[in-house]
């Protein structure tokens, strides 16, 4: 049995033509490709960080040995 009140809540106000511009600007256009590229860049940055950290560690251990 359909509940009128519940069904009515599923209907929303339509955007008017004047509001279309704002809606376009506010639209989140981030896609999976963007996320993927960001992830790749984050990984690369992480790798760069990780690669630089062992060098510092080695230098520190040498200093301790001395």
């Amino acid at each position: 049995m359909i509940n009128f009140e519940e069904e009515l809540k599923k209907f929303h106000l339509s955007l008017e033509v004047e509001d279309a511009e704002e809606a376009i600007y506010n639209q989140d256009l981030t896609d999976m490709a963007d996320i993927f590229v960001k992830m790749i860049k984050d990984i690369e940055e992480h790798e760069t960080t990780v690669q630089s950290k062992p060098k510092n560690h080695n230098a520190m251990s040498r200093m301790e040995e001395e």
Partner: protein
């Protein structure tokens, strides 16, 4: 497909030939996006607009730069009556690819017609108003607004669904089913529509719910769908085209309706206009007639005045004629006087002039001098003239020429009124000539003027005879 890292065109390898970046996952993302686009295109082709919408949104979630998917999404929105959403997608598409983009044509198509754009905006406002009415519980007003919305934008699925929901709430199942069927004609696989329709059909005929599925299948076979370029054409199979006879029948009905409209709507207006014109003309003519009648009355009055004046002038003229007559009598008297002075013995000529003077007609208009001269002249020639007339008249009397004797004896008495014989014989002439009245008058005068004479006694005898004879 280009490399996300360097922008180089990618080959069939899983790495970029330009920068060496690993593009295997990136390529898979692009493939998935294209796959969803193809799915959306297929669904749009069979009017599964909701399914197409979902697939195309998925496609754009994987690749926002999939221009074809975005343009198709705009078209699907437009077909569902969501014009603002369609415009938004096309505008984004145009921004992403400014050149060689069909979205440009779509935007132009809508923006070039300002009236259509205004109509779209009105539709949206009315829909929002209807939704507000629904939330306020004013279902009747909402139904009216939604009907207006659908008259302007018959493809707006949300409006059809909301109207169907209102009908369902009002338990107007047939109307709800009609609206939902319209929804299905636009979007064949809308979940909300299906849910509402199932509810409606269950309420109408509980057993029909089972039959509905088979019926729907048979309905779907009633149409042939095929692709022509970017457009999907759905051609119904069982649609009958009007043939020749029905065309003529329809034309006949149309002509009859036209004539009826002309008779009942146009002709009365024309007749009214004609009557109005005629009344105006009649009024003008009546005014002219009144003016002319007034003129005629005035003229008649003038004619009467002139007639009276003419009568008065005629009287004056008669007076003048009288005067003229007097003058003529004076002329005759002068001529008679002149003739007498010239030759006193020529009494015949003098008497001719005197005879032409009518003393009776002159009456009192004759002057004293005229009367004196006339009397003098008559006195001078009268006895001789009277004698001449008496002799001639008596002679005629003796010869029984009474008609000839009468004027002569009358003249004889006129010029000599002491001549009683002349009067007596004149009376006898009248009597014997049959002029009784004149005879009686003359006899009476003899008796009166010459009493005691033989003439008077004989006149009395004759007068008695005449009176006894009457």
């Amino acid at each position: 497909m280009i490399c996300y890292n360097c922008g180089c065109r990618l080959s069939e390898h899983d790495f970029c030939t330009g920068c060496g970046a690993d593009v295997s996952i990136y390529k898979k993302i692009m493939y998935i996006s294209n796959r969803f686009y193809n799915d959306g295109l297929e669904k749009a082709g069979v009017r599964d607009l909701t399914g197409a919408l979902t697939s195309l949104r998925q496609s754009l979630k994987f690749n926002k730069n999939n221009i074809e998917a975005r343009n198709l999404l705009g078209l699907v929105y437009f077909e569902m009556g969501e014009v603002v959403a369609a415009l938004s997608e096309w505008v984004i598409s145009k921004n992403l690819r400014p050149k060689k983009n069909i979205a440009d044509d779509y935007i132009d198509m809508i923006q070039s017609n300002q009236a259509r754009l205004d109509s779209i905006n009105q539709t949206i406002k009315k829909y929002n108003q209807a939704l507000l009415y629904c939330n306020q519980g004013s279902s009747d007003l909402a139904v009216i607004q939604l009907k207006k919305v659908l008259s302007l934008n018959p493809k707006l699925i949300r409006a059809h669904q909301l109207l169907a929901l209102l009908y369902i709430n009002g338990e107007e199942w047939e109307k709800a089913r009609k609206e939902l069927n319209k929804c299905i004609q636009i979007d064949t696989n809308n979940t909300t529509t299906m849910r509402y329709l199932k509810e409606v059909e269950n309420m109408l005929i509980p057993e029909e719910g089972v039959k509905a599925a088979s019926k729907k299948k048979s309905q779907s076979k009633d149409a042939v769908t095929y692709q022509s370029g970017n457009e999907t054409i759905i051609q119904p199979l069982n649609m009958k085209e009007s043939k020749g006879v029905s065309t003529f029948v329809n034309m006949g009905i149309g002509i009859v309706i036209g004539i009826a409209i002309a008779c009942f709507l146009i002709l009365p207006a024309r007749i009214q206009a004609a009557k109005s014109t005629i009344n105006d003309e009649l009024r003008v003519v009546s005014e002219q007639l009144d003016a002319k009648t007034a003129t005629i009355d005035e003229m008649e009055q003038q004619v009467n005045n002139l007639t009276e004046e003419t009568a008065k002038l005629q009287e004056d003229l008669d007076g003048y004629v009288g005067t003229d007559g007097a003058l003529q009598a004076t002329d005759k008297l002068l001529l008679a006087s002149g003739a007498y002075l010239k030759n006193a013995a020529d009494i015949v000529t003098v008497s001719e002039y005197l005879d032409q003077i009518d003393l009776e007609s002159l009456g009192t208009s004759a002057s004293e001098s005229f009367t004196a001269l006339y009397d003098t002249l008559t006195g001078l020639i009268g006895p001789e003239l009277a004698k001449t007339y008496f002799d001639e008249g008596y002679n005629d009397y003796r010869q029984e020429k009474y008609a000839s004797a009468i004027p002569k004896l009358a003249k004889a008495y006129q010029y000599d009124q002491t001549n009683g014989d002349a009067l007596y014989y004149l009376a006898n002439c009248y009597r014997r000539n049959g002029n009784v009245d004149k005879a009686k008058e003359a006899y009476a005068k003899v008796i009166e003027l010459f009493p005691g004479t033989k003439k008077a006694s004989e006149s009395g005898t004759y007068l008695a005879e005449i009176n006894n004879g009457n």
